[in-house]
Amino acid sequence: MKKQLIELRVNGRSHEVAIEPSALLLDVLRQELQLTGSKRACDDSSCGACTVLVDGVAMMSCTLLAASCEGQEITTIEGVSEHGSLAAIQKAYGDWGGAQCGYCTPGFIMTVKSLLSENPDPSEADVRAALSSNLCRCTGYNQMYEAIRSAIQAERKGLAEAK
């Protein structure tokens, strides 16, 4: 198949990439742009390890055509850290043991980001429902809930202090 040149905006930067029209976003991110934080684990959008934000919406990049994302703003796990430091959710996942082997963690963090941008004060049921799009085999999820709660509190505290 003949390659075509497309422009992808990823984490606030533009990249011109020559890809086959059938190329999947995950493969383009990992192989063309070396953004290997998004993971391939199931091949068929059942596990969420490849979750990225496309115009702020959590999408599974393993079953998304890269060419279809032209002109949209893509955020990957590499774009989550703030000002060179860990974002509150990243710090909290470490502190509370929300990540063990870490392979599913980037996907979870993108899902949580998407949840919190839509609903800054989610109930436990909201959190459980949102996380159900992603699979983790290590943690049993319990410590993730605590991490998310503590990240929300840390964000609030940070905002209050900023004012």
């Binding site: 199931c42 091949d43 470490g94 870490g102 085999r137």
Partner: protein
């Protein structure tokens, strides 16, 4: 032992947490090297067939195909156990399961490799296949391996005490058949290997091999690569990058790890192979389907008099860890309760399915499900509370069990007490509304096997420590971090022993060129064994530092206390804490940091002139030690003591451990009697881990074990049809999502083991086995049916409920079998079918049965 620690026992984020939460950490599939090619494997579509011919001339001609590798390219057999060298990286003459490895294509891109796979022509002669272990044991012809009559991999027959007398003495005896269906690890990271050769400058030919692989056992991989490639181990370097979960699935050598190296040699370029999820399911090595015929006798006072178990494991097509698995199933009937008489008959049977191997709770889980269910039944028969019957059968420790297992620390009594208390067992048991129930069960596990799978006197773990003038502590350990917190544990133990901060310690792990030998991350051995080795290495370095510091401080080395980056005299200046802060800030304000790093004659002299000091910073002490001794390095190793290595009977090598962890759990469930659906609301899980070195990790391991046990109890199952896996995807395999996952309350019990590092034992596996029977017993409490087959799917629960009421059995799947595929998935390049299902040999036993046949 003192409980006053500055790092041990404190809640600590894992040392590699930021790498994982930012996506910066590299797993094997994230790596690439210049000129790297992609490998794709062609798998067998038949469960049992002879390969008559492989013709890959058409594939080779395709543009972009660099090499085609087949079995003849590296024909040496291998296997993880010395007694089980029955595998070939690529099939030589026969394929033994649908999914067996036939050929490997090396190409410039994945797309080309996938296309080329279809151009390989293989002629098979289909053979009769065996899918059910009990059928397979009757086989007379067409054996899976010629040297294994009746397809029996191994059988063991153990008698300890006098079981017949035990049953004669019993007041109540229960006997039943339990079946635990097959489950797999499904670690989130698919297996991946990158192999690359360097040219030898002297011979000009391919020389050293470097392999990056997602493995729990880099040293075993190095050993097997050496065997198959006929290269000296010293020429092979295995590096373990981050590993995305193992659970036992990466605790042995998976075919792609060897195939990648063979392919790199043949293609004369680096080759990476990453399995698709479907291939991961076929690589398997999970927990075998197990048939347990169990008989237990008890006295009226609750004491167990005898246990008799016949265990048949459906081991799949190769030995893998099978011999060990079947031995664990029998050996770990002991060491949890005091059982005076045990009879065990274990059969590991070969079938034409992917090989089963080690999975979290290796060998113990399914038998524990049966035993704890039956104990519950017996408690009901003698009218005793299920928690109490467990308390009546406790070991009197320290002791050696009837089957030769040495038990020292034993936190089970406290585990039972605390789960019972936290769950409100006494107030709530039996008083919940119908449909809701509580169940209790216990389990245990080894803290590493006392005998290595390769019999030798070699230490199981060795650790080196190097400290330089900068005061940086580098720990070199062969232990494999796979997400369980191995590197963090190592850093904590080193920092606590040396009295420095955690941030000073850098752990270099699992690189066979850099790190001393460690047999790997399996059987929950790392904290106990690599932890002890780290402790010994750090103690050795600390002695060197203390000797030099003592000279500077004009005191005896024994009078020094190392803590929080400071070395102070024990006596004279009151508590160490009072000294820590002022001394540190003063040192830093003068020139501590710079001074510590660079040798400066004048500053050194100045310090000497100051006369003896009452305290030194860690850096000053290190500099003093290097000036005094030269290089500052230490090494420590660990081998389990002879007393812990078990009895003398055949098979006694498996089961013994220097220490056992203990767990007691209460599960609260509700059962929908109309649909048969079981919901787990909460699990209280107490786990005796000796000492919790990092409570965050310990709790994470307990919750994770309980969760994985719950998956096996309720939903997870590998569904087979004629040797074909019907659910090779993460969605279809149905491991629980956050919606189905209960709250787990971890309760840490610390029994402080006399031999563990700071008293620690294992915490990653022991809790899993209790969850399944705790849920089964809770279902019994809720609706009065006892389930004998896991997972407890709505179909099975409903069938049991209807049988209990003498209703006609319902066949919910008749005619609408959701597992009957109309077409097969072909994604990811793993080509299972070319448009048709497997052909059946006329003699195939599966043919004679109506319809489904096969494993279930």
């Amino acid at each position: 032992m003192s409980n006053d620690f500055s790092i041990i026992g404190k809640r600590t984020a894992m040392v590699d947490a930021a790498e994982k939460t930012t996506g910066a950490g590299k797993y094997t599939d994230d790596l690439s090297v210049p000129g790297m090619l992609v490998g794709k494997i062609l798998h067998s579509p038949y469960p049992h067939a002879r390969i008559k011919r492989i013709d890959y001339t058409r594939a080779e001609k395709l543009d972009g195909v660099i090499a085609v590798v087949i079995g003849k390219d590296a024909p040496n057999p291998y296997g993880i156990l010395p007694v089980g060298h029955d595998e070939h990286a690529l099939a030589l003459d026969k394929v033994r399961y649908a999914g067996d490895n036939v050929a490997c294509l090396v190409a410039t891109s994945e797309a080309v490799a996938e296309k080329a796979l279809e151009l390989i022509d293989v002629d098979y002669e289909v053979l009769p296949a065996y899918f059910d272990p009990e059928e397979s044991m009757k086989a007379e012809s067409h054996l899976i391996h010629d040297n294994k009559p009746h397809n029996l991999e191994k059988d063991y027959h153990h008698v300890f005490g006098d079981p017949d007398q035990g049953f004669a003495d019993a007041d109540e005896v229960a006997e039943a058949r339990f079946i635990a269906n097959e489950v797999t690890h499904a670690a989130m990271e698919p297996h991946s290997t990158l192999a690359s050769f360097e040219l030898d400058p002297h011979t000009g030919r391919p020389g050293r091999l470097t392999v990056w692989s997602s493995t729990q056992v880099p040293y075993y991989l190095q050993h097997k690569l050496s065997l198959v490639l006929e290269m000296p181990m010293a020429q092979i370097r295995v590096i373990k990058p981050l590993v995305g979960g193992g659970f036992g699935g990466k605790s042995e050598v998976i075919p792609l790890e060897i195939i990648a190296a063979i392919a790199a040699r043949k293609a004369q370029a680096p080759v990476k192979i990453t399995y698709t999820r479907e291939e991961v399911f076929w690589a398997h090595r999970g927990r075998p389907r197990t048939i347990i015929d169990l008989k237990t006798g008890v006295k009226k006072d609750g004491r167990i008099t005898a246990v008799k178990a016949r265990v048949v494991q459906d081991g799949g097509a190769y030995c893998s860890y099978g011999v060990v698995t079947i031995l664990y199933s029998g050996a770990l009937l002991g060491a949890l309760y005091d059982i005076p008489n045990i009879q065990y008959n274990g059969y590991r049977v070969l079938t034409n399915k992917p090989a089963c191997g080690a999975m979290r709770g290796h060998g113990t889980v399914n038998v524990r499900f049966a035993f704890e269910s039956q104990l519950d039944e017996l408690a009901a028969k003698i009218g005793m509370d299920p928690a109490e019957i467990r308390q009546r059968n406790l070991l009197q420790t320290p002791c050696v069990t009837v089957n030769g297992l040495r038990v020292q620390s034993y936190g089970l009594p406290e585990c039972i007490e605390r789960t019972v208390a936290r769950s409100g067992w006494k107030q709530r048991k039996g008083k919940l509304p119908r449909g809701r129930g509580l169940g209790i069960a216990c389990s245990h596990y080894v803290s590493g096997a006392a005998n290595s799978i390769i019999r030798s006197d070699m230490p199981h773990s060795t650790v080196n420590i190097k400290i330089d003038r900068d005061g940086g502590v580098v720990v070199y350990t062969g232990a494999s971090e796979i997400g369980q917190g191995s590197d963090t544990m190592t850093a904590q133990v080193a920092a606590e022993t040396l009295g420095c901060t955690l941030s000073r310690v850098r752990v270099i792990a699992a690189d066979t060129d850099l790190t001393p030998i460690d047999i790997g991350s399996y059987s929950s051995r790392v904290t106990f064994m690599a932890g002890n080795a780290t402790l010994r290495a750090a103690t050795q370095v600390k002695k060197l530092i203390a000797a030099a510091a003592a000279k500077k401080m004009n005191c005896a080395p024994e009078d020094l206390v190392f803590r929080a980056d400071t070395v102070v005299k024990k006596n004279g200046h009151g508590s160490t804490d009072a000294l820590v802060r002022p001394e540190r800030s003063e040192a830093a304000s003068v020139s501590g940091r710079v001074e510590g790093q660079i040798l400066r004659g004048s500053l050194q002299q100045k310090r000497k002139d100051e006369g003896p000091k009452d305290s030194l910073t860690f850096e000053e002490a290190v500099v003093a030690a290097i000036d005094f001794h030269g290089a500052l390095t230490g090494t420590g190793s660990y081998a389990p003591p002879a007393e812990a290595r078990g009895g003398k009977h055949k098979g006694a090598g498996v089961g013994p451990s220097p220490a056992y962890s203990y767990s007691a759990q209460v599960a609260e469930v509700s059962v929908d009697e109309d649909t048969g659906e079981v919901t787990v609301h909460k699990v209280w899980a107490a786990h005796d881990c000796g000492r919790a070195l990092n409570p965050v990790s310990v709790e994470g391991q307990i919750i994770g074990s309980v969760w994985m046990g719950m998956g096996q109890a309720l939903t997870e199952e590998m569904v087979w049809k004629d040797g074909m896996l019907m659910n090779p995807g993460l969605l279809e395999y149905r491991s629980p999502s956050s919606i189905e996952s209960p709250d787990v309350e971890p309760i840490i019990v610390e029994s402080i083991d006399p031999e563990g590092p700071f008293g620690a034992k294992e915490c990653s596996e022991g809790s899993l086995a209790a969850t399944i029977p705790a849920i089964a017993n809770a279902i019994y409490d809720a609706v009065g049916v006892r389930l004998h087959e896991s997972p407890f799917t709505p179909e099975r629960v409903l069938a049991a409920l209807r049988a209990n009421r003498s209703f006609k059995a319902l066949n919910l799947t008749e005619g609408i079998d959701p597992t009957a595929p109309t077409r097969f998935r072909e994604h990811g390049g793993s080509l299972w079918f070319k448009g048709k299902g497997p052909e059946r040999h006329p003699l195939d036993p599966a043919r004679s049965q109506t319809g489904a046949g096969g494993a279930d």
